[in-house]
């Protein structure tokens, strides 16, 4: 057997013995190994925008470190077993005994290795899942974005043809074309909205006159609807409250788009305040949600009949409300939107948003 191999094997054994030596060293090395391994996995996952997941990982690493430190033998024994086995393999004279020695290494290392591998692979799997989720969110957002130009071209072409003039039969088809292109546009906008909400787009609450926000949406519904749209505002509502006006307007808009689709003659919107909550109720005199479908209706891509909705309107409206600390539900034939009522007395309403009063910018995801 060569001297070099002997020397190497001896060095390995010496290192293994040093690691096994009882005392602070063992604890240190064990803890160090674990922290390194797990922190590596956790860091990958922590570098992302999802703060709560990052906090979870940090806590996981801390917990395992403590346990590993308490059971300090694990890391040190595993490492030393590996080194002993390696030394044995290097000094083995013949084929079969190499395999026996390898088997010894594996069995001595196994229990320790399993613990480390399990945790490491768990973290790796979590990291992969997060990456995959982030990729599909990014994809959804990009896809929805990319759809908009071709949809715009379709819609513009159909509308230009309608105005140019056509036979009644052609006009019917062109109207359908333009209507469907418009609906496609709303769907793309709704998808983009959903993707942004999933990516954790923040809400921006500021002091606004929420009565104006709701009135603007009711006015818009009046222009687009043959039904009568009535608005009742409780005089106790403060002039200025702190909400996200864009999110609130969009949620109300989605509820009104639904109401327009089903109303026979009347849509009622009621704005009131009760016990610290701002309440916006939207009712129509149509058939209402079928019994038993109240929960389902708020899920994504659920349309309860084929009337040209996106299936996303209610889901988006609920998300937008929940992001502001409120909720959206259905009770007694009315959609009830609640937002935490936080007065901003003494502050003047913020008219700063450049997109105030621009109906085209919110294509109406519920429509």
């Amino acid at each position: 057997m060569s001297g070099a191999r002997q020397t190497l094997a001896m060095d390995l054994r010496r290192l293994a013995t040093w690691i096994e030596r009882p005392g602070r060293h063992r604890g240190l090395i064990a803890t160090g190994l674990f922290v390194l391994l797990l922190a590596f996995g956790a860091l990958d996952s922590v570098t992302g925008s999802d703060l709560s997941l990052g906090v979870f990982y940090v806590l996981l690493v801390v917990a395992i470190t403590v346990v590993a430190g308490a059971v300090a033998g694990i890391g040190a024994a595993a490492l030393s077993a590996l080194l002993w086995g390696a030394a044995d393999v290097i000094t083995s004279p013949s084929g079969l005994s190499v395999w026996i020695d390898l088997w010894n290494v594996v069995t001595r290392f196994a229990v320790h290795a399993i613990v480390v591998l399990l945790v490491a692979s768990l973290l790796h799997a979590l990291r992969l899942a997060r990456e995959s989720e982030a990729r599909s969110r990014a994809f959804l957002a990009t896809a929805a974005h990319q759809l908009r130009t071709p949809i715009a071209a379709l819609r513009a072409s159909a509308e230009a043809l309608v105005v140019e003039g056509a036979t009644p039969a052609q006009e019917r088809l062109l109207a359908n074309l333009a209507g469907e292109a418009s609906r496609l546009g709303r769907l793309a906008a709704a998808l983009l909205r959903t993707a942004r909400l999933d990516q954790g787009e923040p809400v921006r609450p500021r002091p606004v006159d929420v009565r104006q926000v709701v009135l603007a949406e009711v006015e818009r519904a009046r222009q687009l609807s043959v039904a009568e749209c009535r608005l009742a505002v409780d005089p106790r509502i403060p002039a200025v409250v702190v909400v996200d006006p864009d999110a609130t307007a969009e949620a109300v808009s989605n509820l009104l788009d639904n109401a327009r689709r089903y109303a026979r003659a009347v849509i009622d919107v009621r704005l009131s305040a009760e016990r610290g909550w701002l309440v916006i109720e939207v009712t129509d005199d149509g058939p209402g949600l079928p019994a038993g479908s109240e929960t389902e209706a708020f899920q994504r891509f659920v349309t309860l009949d084929g009337r040209g909705g996106t299936g996303l309107g209610l889901a988006i409206a609920r998300e937008l409300t929940q992001r502001q600390g409120g909720d959206l539900g259905y009770a007694g034939k009315a959609f009830v939107l609640r937002l935490p009522l936080s007065e901003a007395s003494g502050r003047r309403p913020d008219h700063g948003s450049p997109d105030a009063g621009r109906p085209a910018d919110r294509i109406g995801a519920g429509a």
């Binding site: 974005h145 990319q146 908009r148 130009t149 071709p150 949809i151 715009a152 071209a153 379709l154 819609r155 513009a156 072409s157 509308e159 230009a160 309608v162 105005v163 140019e164 003039g165 009644p168 006009e171 019917r172 062109l174 109207a175 333009a178 209507g179 292109a181 418009s182 496609l184 546009g185 793309a188 906008a189 983009l192 222009q223 687009l224 609807s225 043959v226 864009d246 327009r260 689709r261 040209g308 450049p354 997109d355 085209a360 910018d361 294509i363 109406g364 429509a367």
Partner: protein
């Protein structure tokens, strides 16, 4: 009234062609371009009254860069077309001196309304008040009078009247009105009937019938003197 001239830069061919047809159909003179390479020439030779840019253009130059270059050449209003509706993009557009911002996909009626509004604000749309029969229509202030009386029209009724009055004698089908006034954001043709009735009631309170129905065809604005 001089015809307003629009410089329109859009790289998507279908969209560029369709919007050009729409704008020309609405009475504008349009110079469509696929990118900003001819900007200097377009400004010098065409003398546009307004520039309409897509924000995302090919070969690295984007609408915002173009806007900066254009500002150095001429003081004309700029409207951006974009698929992006993130608030930051819009704010950036306004910071760069955009006069308005339209999100794709858009209704043709929305595009036309905004372009006209921007032209009006910058004083480049002349004679916003015009007379049609005994109607006096002021597009800038959105009022319509018949004789001495203000008709007190809602937003939709006013838009409807304007569409019909721009081409008196032309029959507009319900579908065409749905496109021109509501941009197909409304759901059904009843919308047209309901608002035409309301508009008629207000008009006929002050004189003879102006909006006639052509059975099976649509609505038309004609002189109250029997045709």
């Amino acid at each position: 009234m001089t015809t307003p001239r629009l410089l329109f830069i859009e790289d998507d061919q279908s969209l560029r062609e369709a919007v050009t047809v729409t704008l020309r159909g609405a009475g504008f003179e349009v110079r469509p371009e696929p990118d900003g390479s001819t900007l200097a020439d377009a400004v010098a030779a065409f003398h546009p009254d307004l520039a309409l840019f897509d924000v995302r253009l090919p070969r690295g130059e984007d609408g915002f860069d173009l806007a900066v270059r254009l500002r150095a050449m001429a003081e004309i209003p700029i409207v951006f077309l974009t698929a992006a509706d993130a608030l930051d993009d819009r704010l950036r557009g306004f910071e760069l001196g955009a006069d308005d911002y339209i999100v794709k996909p858009f209704a043709a009626s929305e595009l036309l309304a905004r372009v006209r509004a921007v032209l009006r604000r910058s004083g480049r749309l002349t004679s916003p008040t015009y007379k049609v029969f005994d109607l006096l229509i002021d597009e800038a202030n959105r009022t319509a009078r018949r004789g001495p009386s203000d008709l007190q029209l809602t937003k939709v009724e006013f838009d409807l009247l304007v569409v019909l009055s721009r081409e008196p004698g032309r029959v507009f089908s319900k579908t065409q009105l749905l496109s021109l006034v509501w941009g197909f954001d409304g759901f059904d043709e009843n919308l047209v009937e309901v608002h035409i009735s309301a508009l008629r009631r207000k008009l006929e309170a002050h004189g003879g019938r102006l909006i006639h129905t052509e059975r099976g065809k649509g609505y038309v604005l004609r002189s109250p003197v029997a045709a």
